[in-house]
Symmetry: C2
Subunit: 205 residues, 2 copies
DNA sequence: TGCTTTTATTGAACATTGTTTAATTAAAGG
DNA sequence: CCTTTAATTAAACAATGTTCAATAAAAGCA
């Protein structure tokens, strides 16, 4: 069917949606293997058998692609959280949650690192979908700590959930960047965070 | 004295140490104005009236330069902390510390952002001086919370200081990257962090 | 002084990025 | 069968960090 030696011109072997999917899966594989800094547009294109130009037909730029990848990572963590039973005691629910988080980041350090490390160029702001994804994760935390709060304390509950999320994030960010004192481990710090929070909520009105 | 039109060849108008100092000061100015992503080797060189090659005579690479800049930023924050009176009540000391931190990051967002955003290329590890700088800052936190601890609880005190530092870091990192729910403010979250920690330590044995 | 050695400095080149675009050609529509 | 549309490529562009041969000023020394 092909006359020349190249694939110049329209092929349409994949729909734009398929191309997006392939690019995102390729990007994930590259990040898993080489980290976010090893991810390049040419690398993605090569892995899916296209050239860079085609990527720019389905993504505005590489940051948008990475942001989408990160949204999927966060959604994946949340879907794992959704399978936990967080209806009982808040202290135990929090411990379950934090252990799931620790396990995920331990098994997929490069993938979680991409979430932490990715910065938008100045002037750009994140897509609404990113905030939605994070919000849903924070809602899981809200659910876990709900027995600490009365029904009319929605604002406090949300504030605490955001605080726990930010603290978890900070510990992980420093740990994966090798910026903690060497004898501190992620596990120890996260456990301490959770137990400190539980203490504050348990023996205090 | 000069024959050609250029400054090719040895000038020695500045010692290597002076050159380092000039480069770091220029880098700080650029970061203050344009952020870390606006910092380039050519930009630094231009600002100090040299070309890039000279930078590579006093720094191994640009990451080392940025790391040195960040060390100086952290040291600066610590020197401000050192002027606080942290001998009294731990709760109030912590509040003082956190307010100083908030004020510094509010006044110098770009500078603190450089501390947060700078990542080393894979394979490289941070200089010992970086860890020293952070350790000294954590020691300030240790001092602030010391009245919560008995004399033999050094490990716990250090763990808590690292936890507070990591949590503060996480809140700031998410906030400056525009990654918090929009209605949460840095101030609110940091206050909540401090008050939660105080509650855990105060009404609990 | 004059010759050699050392070294600071430059300009240009290189490699790697993200991104854009003109050329091309397969598919779609009539 | 002709025209239009749109997918795809190769090549180019701009910006980056980094390296290096060429150069000339300084330093050492006779």
């Amino acid at each position: 069917m092909r006359i020349g030696m190249t694939d110049l011109g329209r092929r349409a072997e994949h729909t734009p949606e398929q191309l997006r999917r392939m690019a995102l899966d390729a990007a994930r594989n590259i990040v898993l293997k080489k980290g976010l800094s090893g991810l390049t547009t040419r690398g993605i294109a090569k892995e899916i058998g296209y050239t860079v130009g085609s990527l720019y037909q389905v993504f505005d730029n590489v940051d948008q692609l990475i942001e989408q990848l990160n949204i999927e990572t966060i959604d994946h963590v949340r879907s794992m959280c959704d399978q936990l039973d967080l209806d009982g005691d808040a202290a135990n629910s929090l411990r379950k949650l934090s252990h799931l988080y620790i396990e995920f980041t331990r098994k997929n350090p490069q993938l979680w690192n991409a979430v932490i490390d990715h910065k938008l160029p100045t002037g750009y702001q994140r897509q609404e979908a990113y905030f939605d994804s994070v919000s849903k994760l924070v809602e899981v935390v809200e659910k876990a700590i709900s027995s600490f709060f009365k029904d009319d304390e929605l604002a406090s509950r949300n504030l605490d959930a955001n605080l726990l999320w930010a603290s978890l994030y900070g510990i992980t960010a420093l740990a994966t960047a090798g910026r903690l004192a060497r004898h501190e481990t992620t596990l120890t710090l996260i456990d301490r965070l959770i137990e400190t929070y539980i203490a504050a909520k348990t023996h205090h009105e």
